[in-house]
Structures are given as C-alpha cells and as structure tokens.
C-alpha cells in the first residue's frame, strides 16, 4: 500500500467513526459516483438551538461584500439558476439528437451571434453563449464533420462547425481578456466557468470543417428539389459562415502573440478585417426576413447558471436585438481598424493624440484591451520599442533636442564638461556614468507614469477619470523630481565655474526646465481630461457648471501660459550652452523613429499645435462659464434645493436653506476639487478665489455676459481657423480634432444667439438682472442666513480655512481673466451696488421684487441642455463643451 493510500484509509476510518457531542452519530455515505457525504443535520440543529431568531454568527473579518455576494439556495431572487416548473418543461423540449432544418440552424446561428455580441458588450458567458445547449454540450456526436453527418446535416455539417468556429473566436478574445488590461466585473465577467468549450478543435480543423459546411450549403443553394425557404436559409448561413471565417482570421492575425511572432500578421489581419467590414456592410444593407429562421424550443437555457459555480448572483439579461447586434459588431470592426494606424504611428505626439481620441470613442472592452496590449506587452512599446527610449522620445518631442545633445556629449567627453567648481561638476568628474544614469533613473520613473497614462486611456470612462485623479499625485511628485534634475542639468551644462549658474538654475527666466516642463504639461493634460470626463459622465449638476467651467478655464489658461513659456524658451534657445550644441556634429542614426533626432523646428510645431488646441478649449470653457453663470441668474440653471423649495416646510425647508450658505458651498467646492488642491501646481483656485472671480461679474447684466461669451466663442473659432492653416502637412489626426472643436464653437454661437433673441421677456430679464440682484433675490426667497450675497469672498475665508482650503490665495494673474469684458468697474462702485442690493433685500418691498423676478424667470419658456451630444453631431467627442436651447421650459420651482 502506498503512503497516499495509507493516509486515505486512515482518514476514512477517522471520519467514519466521527461523533459530535450531544448529536446523533452519523456515518459517511458514499453515492454512486463515489462522492462521500456526511449528514450534519443533527449537528446543525444542535448548534443552532441556542441562537435567537435572526441572530447572526460571523467572523470579525466578514465584510459587506461577503454579505452581498452570499446566496440563499432556492430563493428565486438570489438563486438565479433555480428552475420553475415552466423552466423544466421548456428545457425538456430540447434534444441534442433532433434533426435540424437549415431554417432552425439559422435561428440558432443568429441567436448565437446576438449572444456573442452581447458578451462583447460586457455580459457574462452565463448570460449569453453558455445558454445555448449546443455550445456547451458535453459529448459532441461522432458524426459531426464526418460523412455520417449526412443523417443530420444541419446539425453535424453546419451548426457544430459554426459553433466550433465561434468557440475559436471566443478563445482569441478570452486570451486577450486574461491579460487583465481591463477590469473584471466592469468590462468583463470572468466568473469561474470553464472555457474548454472554446478550444475543442485546432484552427486548421475548424477551417476544414467550415470548408465542408460551405460545400454543403452551396450545394443546397443550387439544388433544384430543395424547399425554397431552406435554400434561402442556406444563403444566409453562407454569409454568416464567410463572416465567421474572416472574423476568426482577423482575431488570430491581429492578436499580439501572432503579431510578435510574424511581422506579416498585421497586414494579413488588416486585409481580413477590410474584407470582413465590406461583407458585413453588404449583409447589413440586405433586407432582413424575420420569419425565415425557425425557433428551436428549449435550445437556449436562460437558467444555465445553475450548472456553474459563481462568486456572485448572475442575473439573466436581455440579449441585444438583431439590429443592435449588427450595429455593435460594425462598431467593433471599425474600432479594430485602428490597430493598423496605431502600429504605424511615428511620433509620441501622434500617439498621445491617437489615445486621447480613442478614449473618447469608448470602444468595446476587447478592443480597449487589445490596444493596451499592443501599446505595452513584454515590456515593449508597440511590440518593438523599449519604454526607456520611448520616454526619452516623448520628452524630446516637447522639450527640444538640447538636453539629449548634452547627454550624448556627457557620455562622450565628460571631463570637458566638468571644468567648473560646482558640486554637480565635481560629481561628474568623479563618476560620469553615474551622472548619466541619474537621467536614466528619472526616465525609468517617468516611463512608468507615461506607460500608465497610455493604459488609462484604454479603460472605461468612469475608470479613466478615477485613475487620472489618483495618478495626478504621482505626476506631481515626478514633476518635483524633474525640477531637481533640471537644475542639476542646467548647472553642469552651463560650463560656468562660478555659483551664478546655480542661482540661475532655479530661476524660470534662465532655466527652461526641460524635464519638469514636460511633466507639468502631462499633468495639466490629465487635470483637463479628468474635468471633461466628469462632464461627459454627468457627474456635475447644472448649478456646479459655472465653477467647473471656471476652474477648467483656469487650468487651461495655466496650460496655455506654460506652453507659451516652453515655446519662447525653445525658440530663443534660452538656457542652452550654444558652444556645447555647436560641438554636436555627430548624430547617431537609429533604425526606429523613437531613437531618431528631433529638430527644434519640429518641436516648435508640436508646441504650436498644443497652444492652438489648449487656447481654443480655454475660450470654450470661458464662454461656457459665462453662459452658465448668466443662466444661473435667469434661473435657467438651478440648484436642486432651489428646485424643490416650494411646498417644503419645517426641517426639509431648513435643510434646503442651509445648502445655500457659504459654508456649505465651500464644503462642496472643497470636496469637488480636493485632488487638485493637493497638488503643488498649478496654484489651486480656492473657494475664496472663486468667489472673488465671480464677484468680477456681479455688475454686468446677463445680456452683457452673453455678449462677452459670444465674442469669446468667436476667438475660439479664429484660433482654430489659424491652427488648421498652420498644421500644413503635420496632421497626425490633429486637423480633425481642431475641426471638431470649431464645429462646437459655431454650434454654441448659434445656440447663444437663439437664447439671446428668444423672446422679449428673455431680453428684458437678461438686460435687467445683474449678479448682485439675482443673488439677493435668491437669498431672500430662500431665507438664507446671509442675504448680502456680494460679500462672498470675505465671508467664505473663515469657512474655507475651516474646510482645509488650500491656503494660498489666488493671484489675480492665475484666475480666469475678463479684462476685455465690459465688467471691470471700480471696487468702490461695486461695493456701493452690493450695499444697494443688500438694502433691497430688506423688507416687504424686496420680497415683492424677488417674487417678481421669480415669476418673470419662470416664464422664460426655455431651458438649456448642457453637455449635449446633439449640439454638433460632427463633434460628438466634444459634447462636454456643447449646449443647446430647448423650447421645453425648465421645470418650475
């Protein structure tokens, strides 16, 4: 007897004689399959006899998630696989040996296609493909794919080969999912179901069986004595078959493994994809006959989850319809066609643009995962470049070639560089390689951040925003490290032997800050992205939009100023040791674009492009801020508590009133922008700063704000027109992006004109209502504690401090600027008007005026729809900057 058998016998003897104190002795029973069972009913009864009704025994570590994912067996709401009598009857109708007509095969094939695309749309296998009993059948009939298949040709010669090919396609997708580029339970349901159904046959076997199926279907299509409807079904099945074969080839060739192994795979995959898109497009354009396919009862089992283990309840969900499935598949193919341009990209800048646009498209999880894999697999970017070279190229494209020339010089002739007495120079003399590796060390760190940025762009939109916000801190740290590196680099490359260079090194007027400028540029881009995704995800309520756009405009202005500085520094060669650069005559030729030299003029054109793009967005954000702020005065934008005010009394009314206080507003503001407030740069716009900024607009009427917004939109158009002309042949997808933004600016101008000229009432109100007046009216109506609204900036400072506000007051330069607007009045005049408005807010007369304002603004008969996709259909990627005017009035207060 082996040791293992010995142990097993001992274990059996022990358990067979197991008794429980106070409980009836039970023996282990063995069922027909050899499974051992121990009846513990008496133990359970004994164990629970002292528990009260509803008493819960749990471990300390039990979490809410564990409770939520626990399941009550035979409770239909939780035990999703529980069969009712009706379910049992339906399932019993299916028989694997049933002889299938081609019309029945077509019905199953179509439904499997809907299952497959629904699965691609983030449903679980249990909710889709595993419902099909043919897909998960345990024993495949021997006759499948063989000559004996003639007895049940629909099943054996057509359906099963199609299912094997479908399984092979799913396997390719599944392999990609297993790379964990996307999130389980959000984008894909992994579950713990077996996937052996996917790979029962090799690709060559599947293709061979599909060939046999093709032959059979062609024969049926052309044979005279076959039922016409069966022939029609054969024709449609042939189309599905050809598309399936092409889909399998596309997935195989465009898989990362295949493209790494075979350089020709990309072209082969692209060719298959083009052919598939053409076929599918033709298929979609043909009329769909709903009554051709014949249903097979019991073939799909919606309660199939009972057969598989699951960590959490899986609820049956509706499949996509015929039209939805084909539209989704068309979209999937369209998104997959981006693989080719991605691998053909020849600059980091074009990749940044590519991934930004890709993130806006929100493709299906499979494409997002594939793009992430192509971007970085086996520590190779785009299947061939090292991340270190890639990051160096990324910095070089924005900061210019100087720093890389210095690097090459350092490696070649470190002694000549280290002639000064500076600390950095001494380090260089002692260990030149260590000095070079310092830069490499930073680049390694930066590479991690940059790789993460690209991969974030492949996540679903809510994840993108969350991770962007989370990673901002690490970019902030990186920027700090980069500043130190820049100072050191400035000193060692200056060639000076006095301390002046060390003083200059920390001065932005002298030091271009090559590395940190790039890091700051990336950080600002992420901040802008996080805010804009928030708008697209409907995270901000209308009443928050003025501050969101106001804050957004400030970030964009900081970004613009930063880019302008970089451009000026680079164009003027500031901080460059010209002698050092002149000595750089020898250029190393690199095979790949990531290692090739980037000249200054190319970098300047990159910066110019960014400047146009950021400036245009800054104008759009400013215009939307002004419009949303004016709309707030006209009560076209209302806070939720203000909407619910009428009819409330007692505590409920008090709760609503409290929301209007500066203290509550400051808390909400701090919560909304807390991630930004923790960063070292840009200078955060505190609540106090924000109120001061808004205060600048107080004396302007709504119509003046509209007029200013209109001019700002005009500026955006002009900037974009100039930008498109400037692009020349340096497009990389930027032209379409700028054109889309231009559409948005034009559509917004049209919407604004409509809003301004809608009605006489509207015009009158817009002319009359100033900020102070509207605020005073609102405070009176709400009965809030602080009726003199214009004092926001002073009264908030205390609450802001309490709220842990960022401390440093906004400088005027860092705030959104309105110098060109007709809003600049003297402070004394503003204060006077505020006092007048506050005075107006006293007594019955003020209440009457406030009520008149309420009635007048209730009768505007219009509402504004923000972040509207329909505003400019040509620019669906930019609906965060769009608004339209709806004739449907805003809901009454």
């Amino acid at each position: 007897m082996s040791r293992q058998e010995d142990d097993q016998q001992l274990h059996t003897e022990e358990t067979q004689s197991m008794t429980f104190a106070g409980a009836e002795t039970r023996c282990i029973e063995r069922d027909d399959s050899g499974m051992e069972w121990l009846d513990i009913s008496s133990l359970m009864t004994l164990g629970t006899s002292e528990l009260g009704v509803g008493e819960l025994l749990k471990t300390e570590s039990m979490t809410l998630y564990m409770a939520l994912t626990s399941m009550e067996v035979m409770e239909p709401r939780l035990d999703m696989g529980m069969l009712s009598e009706e379910d049992k009857q339906e399932i019993a109708k299916w028989d694997v040996n049933r002889v299938l007509s081609l019309r029945e095969v077509l019905w199953i094939t179509q439904k499997l296609f809907y299952c497959e695309i629904t699965w691609h749309s983030s449903a679980s296998l249990l909710q889709t493909l595993y419902m099909c009993n043919y897909f998960t059948v345990q024993e495949i009939p021997d006759s499948v794919g063989s000559a004996r298949g003639a007895e049940n040709p629909g099943r054996d010669l057509v359906l099963f080969p199609m299912i094997f090919a479908l399984g092979a396609c799913c396997l390719q997708v599944w392999k990609e999912y297993l790379k964990e580029n996307i999130y389980a339970e959000e984008d894909v349901h992994f579950g713990s179901q077996p996937v052996e159904f996917f790979n029962q046959f090799s690709h060559s076997q599947v293709i061979e069986m599909m060939g046999t199926a093709r032959g059979y279907l062609q024969e049926i299509s052309t044979t005279d004595n076959v039922d016409v409807r069966e022939q029609e079904a054969a024709g449609v099945l042939l189309e599905y078959l050809e598309m399936r074969v092409l889909w399998l080839k596309t997935l195989t060739f465009l898989s990362v493994d295949c493209m790494i192994d075979d350089p020709r795979a990309l072209n082969q995959g692209t060719k298959c994809l083009q052919e598939l898109r053409a076929r599918h497009s033709a298929f979609q354009n043909k009329p769909f006959s709903d009554d051709l396919a014949v249903m097979v009862a019991g073939c799909f089992d919606p309660k199939c989850m009972r057969k598989y283990p699951s960590m959490a309840p899986v609820k049956p969900r509706p499949l996509l319809t015929h039209v939805q499935s084909h539209q989704a598949f068309d979209s999937l193919l369209n998104d997959l066609s981006l693989v080719h341009p991605l691998l053909q990209a020849e600059s980091v800048e074009s990749l940044v643009n590519f991934f930004t646009c890709f993130a806006n498209r929100q493709p299906m999880p499979f494409v997002r995962s594939l793009m992430a894999s192509i971007f970085l697999t086996n520590n190779l970017v785009l299947l061939r470049y090292s991340p270190l070279n890639f990051i160096k190229r990324a910095i070089r494209e924005i900061s210019g070639p100087y720093v890389w020339d210095v690097l090459e010089y350092m490696e070649r002739e470190p002694a000549r560089l280290a002639t000064g007495n500076t600390r950095a120079s001494q380090i260089l003399v002692q260990d030149p390689l260590a000095a070079v590796s310092r830069i490499d060390g930073f680049c390694q760190e930066a590479a991690r951040n940059l790789m993460d940025w690209f991969r974030i762009m492949c996540q679903n939109a809510p994840r993108q925003r969350r991770i962007c916000l989370k990673y901002l801190t690490s970019w902030d740290v990186l920027q700090g490290e980069a500043e130190e590196l820049d100072s050191w680099l400035y000193v060692i490359s200056s060639g000076a032997d006095n301390r002046a260079s060390e003083m200059e090194a920390v001065n932005p007027a002298f030091n271009p800050f090559w590395f940190s400028s790039w890091a700051y540029h990336m950080k600002l881009m992420m901040m802008e992205n996080a805010l804009q995704i928030g708008v697209r995800l409907d995270l901000y309520l209308d009443y928050e939009l003025p501050m969101i756009y106001g804050y957004g405009a400030q970030i964009l202005q900081s970004h613009f100023d930063h880019l302008r500085r970089m451009e000026t520094m680079l164009a003027g060669k500031t901080g460059q040791n010209k002698q050092l650069v002149r000595e750089q005559s020898r250029r190393v030729e690199h095979k790949w674009w990531v290692g090739q030299h980037v000249d200054e003029s190319t970098c300047l054109r990159h910066l110019s492009r960014w400047l146009v793009y950021v400036e245009a967005q800054c104008h759009l954000a400013t215009a939307l801020w002004l419009v949303s702020h004016a709309c707030e005065r006209l009560r076209l934008v209302r806070a939720p508590w203000a909407r619910r005010l009428q009819g409330l009394s007692g505590d409920a009314l008090d709760t609503c009133r409290q929301q209007e206080t500066n203290e509550n507003q400051a808390v909400r503001y701090a919560l909304r922008f807390r991630t930004f407030s923790r960063l070292n740069s840009p200078t955060p716009l505190t609540f106090g700063g924000w109120m001061t900024t808004v205060g600048q607009l107080d004396e302007s009427s709504a119509s003046e704000l509209f007029a200013h917004a209109s001019r700002t939109l005009g500026k955006a158009r002009m900037v974009l027109d100039d930008g498109c002309n400037m692009l020349g042949n340096m497009d990389d997808g930027w032209r379409s992006k700028m054109q889309e933004l231009r559409y948005v600016a034009v559509a917004n101008s049209v919407a604004l004109a409509k809003l301004q000229n809608l009605s006489e009432v509207m015009q009158n109100q817009a002319l009359q209502v100033s900020g102070s007046l509207a605020l005073a009216h609102r405070q009176i109506l709400l009965g809030a504690a602080q009726p003199n609204a214009g004092e926001g900036s002073q009264s908030t400072s205390a609450s802001e401090k309490e709220a842990g506000g960022c401390g440093s007051a906004m400088t005027a330069a860092a705030q959104p600027s309105f110098a060109s607007a007709s809003v600049s009045k003297s402070k004394a005049k503003r204060e006077k008007k505020k006092r007048r408005a506050a005075k107006q807010g006293q007594g019955q007369g003020a209440l009457s005026k406030a009520s008149e304002w309420l009635v007048a603004t209730d009768n505007l008969g219009v509402s504004v729809v923000w972040s509207c996709c329909d505003a400019s259909p040509q620019a669906s990627n930019w609906h965060q900057f769009s608004f339209v005017i709806s004739d449907k009035p805003a809901s009454s207060n």
Binding site: L68, N460, L539, R643, R644, D651, R668, C806
Partner: protein
C-alpha cells in the same frame, strides 16, 4: 389624514421589526439582498436602522425604512478637509432606503435620510456616502437637494448592468 402626525419614526430593536422592512425593500430595489446582508447591517449598527411606521385602520405598517452603517474608511486623511492628526476618517454609508409606493410624496424618505445623517453626525461621521442608479432621478434629486454631490460614476455597478453614482456628503 394628516401624513406627518400619523407617521412614527422608530429604531430597530428586534428581528420582527426587520421582516416588514425586508418586504418593502424587496418590492422597491432592483438588487436582491440575502438575509445575511440585512443582518450584517442591523446586528452591527442597530441604531442606524430606522423605520417609518404608519397606523392605518388600526393596523401598524412599515411605510419606509433606512439601513446604514458606519466604519473607519481605509483611506487615510488625505483630503485636507479633515484634521491632520487623525489616522482614518469615519464614513457613514446609507445601504438601503425604501418607501412604500402608497405613501410616497409625504417626505418620508427625506425624513429618514435626515434622521440617519444626524445620527451618524452625532456618532462622529466625517462623511456619508451611498450609491444610486444613474437612472433613479427621484432618489438623486432628493439626495442632491440635501447637499450630496456625485463623486464618482461606477461602471456597470449593479448586476442588471446599470451604472451607479457614488454620492457623497461632507459633514
């Protein structure tokens, strides 16, 4: 009938209090919860499980329920809003709120939520969070009128595949 005077707000005391509330929640919420979920809440935070009891025709019935919890949140005090000397923040969480369809529009939900917020505030909560379906306009409007903001969107949060908003109120 005067809606306010007839409604009595009570706190969980015993298992029998829970059963009518479970029925109400099962009718109202799309997500199915096991009995363990209810007991997880009420056995650890019984004071945060409150009911709106209504007497009609001499019979008392559960017109509304709110079930909450409060724990230290694993995230450290990074927001700057809270004092620096504290290691962790206390997060209140509103797990379930349901109001009988027949008695809606009487402010029962709002009152239950207000009571829960006040109770959690007294227990030392720094913030209160909850999730609501993105399509549940009524619930969102109620919470937002009380000062909650949409902090995050949670993709495919519910088993139906629907997204949720994570709402947060800083106290």
């Amino acid at each position: 009938m005067s809606s306010e005077t007839a409604i009595e707000y009570t706190t969980y005391e015993k298992e029998t209090d829970l059963l009518p509330a479970i029925k109400l929640i099962e009718c109202d919420l799309s997500e199915p919860y096991s009995i363990y979920t209810y007991r997880f809440f009420v056995h650890q935070w019984p004071e945060l499980c409150m009911f709106a009891q209504l007497t009609e025709g001499g019979e008392q019935m559960c017109a509304g329920v709110i079930i909450c919890k409060m724990e230290e949140h694993r995230r450290r005090m990074m927001d700057g809003y809270f004092s620096d000397d504290r290691e962790a923040l206390m997060r209140g969480y509103i797990g379930m709120v349901a109001v009988d369809k027949r008695f809606r529009g009487r402010g029962i939900g709002r009152r239950l939520v207000s009571m829960a917020i006040e109770r959690m505030r007294h227990m030392g909560a720094d913030e209160i969070t909850l999730e609501a379906e993105t399509g549940n306009k009524g619930a969102l409007a109620m919470y937002e009128a009380m000062g909650f903001i949409r902090e995050k969107r949670l993709y495919r949060y519910y088993i139906s595949g629907a997204d949720a908003f994570r709402l947060k109120l800083w106290l």
